[in-house]
Amino acid sequence: MRRALRTLSAARFTLAIVVALGWPVEAFAHHSTAYFSKDLKDVVKIEGRVVRFEWRSPHSELFVETQGANGEQVVWRFDTTPAAWLAREGWTKDSLHSGDPVTVEGFPLVGQPYAWLGKVTKQDGTKLVPQRSTGTPAGWKP
């Protein structure tokens, strides 16, 4: 109990600092990402091909086709930060193209082929990582 209280106090303290400094970590509260799992045990790793990449806001979206557990084709949707934020991290609207083989890690809405994007690894080893946001679990290291 005491440990839980200590954790809560630390969390409140961190939040107070974040609010005081006006860091953009609050961003997205208006576009909630609360339904994506923040538990690192739930992180999904999908290997497949890009169906399409939508360079837009408030979320850019990556659709990846992969094979499901029973051999069926499944299209995963990964939401990520707005185009302007991706641009700051070096992404462009041409970073990903239809048909590109990719490995994508993300934080799912458990039970759905829908996740918040953590990292994309292209076939040549190039890694694309979006800016951290409220959709990113605290302990995530891309």
Binding site: G22, A27, F28, H31, W55, H59, A83, A84, A87, Q112
Partner: protein, 235 residues
Amino acid sequence: MKTALVVVLAAGLLLVSTRLTAQSVALSSAIPNLAGIWHRKGPLNGKPNAPMAPTNRALGYEKAFDNPLSPTYDCVQIPIPAVMNDDYDFQITQQPDRVIIRYEKMDVVRTIWLEGHGHSKPGAYDYTIEGHSIGRYDGARLVVETTKFTPDSRGFNSNRFIPATAMKKVTETYWREGDVLKMQTVSVDPLVLKEPFRWDYEYSVRKEELTPYDCDPEDSRFGAQFHKSIYPPDK
């Protein structure tokens, strides 16, 4: 005699014209150069902004507000000062009778009508999301006063649902210190704010063009279907 009269008139016209030109040059040189694309740097002079002080009725509204009701999901642009306090950049263009501010956030474009140019005033029913902005140069500063806002659930901050009424008034001041653009904003709305809400920030020069926001209502609202309502389900 006629020739002499023409010469005198021509000389007079030339004199008036020269004076007008000189005056125009003097005026334009007195106007601060705020034009450019500006990138968020941090709170003004490094001093964090104080949090908003909503009234109890505004806090009650926020508590009752169910997130999926937000018009942001449908790409409805948010009003100032919420446009400024989200993590995006903007561009200022100065024209003789107006200033245009284009924001990366939601592709918002505002026109600030400069005083002294005979711009028409808004009518009784002329409320808009970004309101009606009137500006003036006060020395090296641009001062903008905006009223006539449509009431909005996202009145002051894109991350909260503190509503703004049609009585909201926002005063902005912009000035330059070298390559840094400084901005002060003061929002008042007596029914929802106990004291003026200040959002002061500074910006550095950005060389890259703004990234289009390009909101798509269908995609934007997609995730909202998974957001649990704070209310019990309807039967």
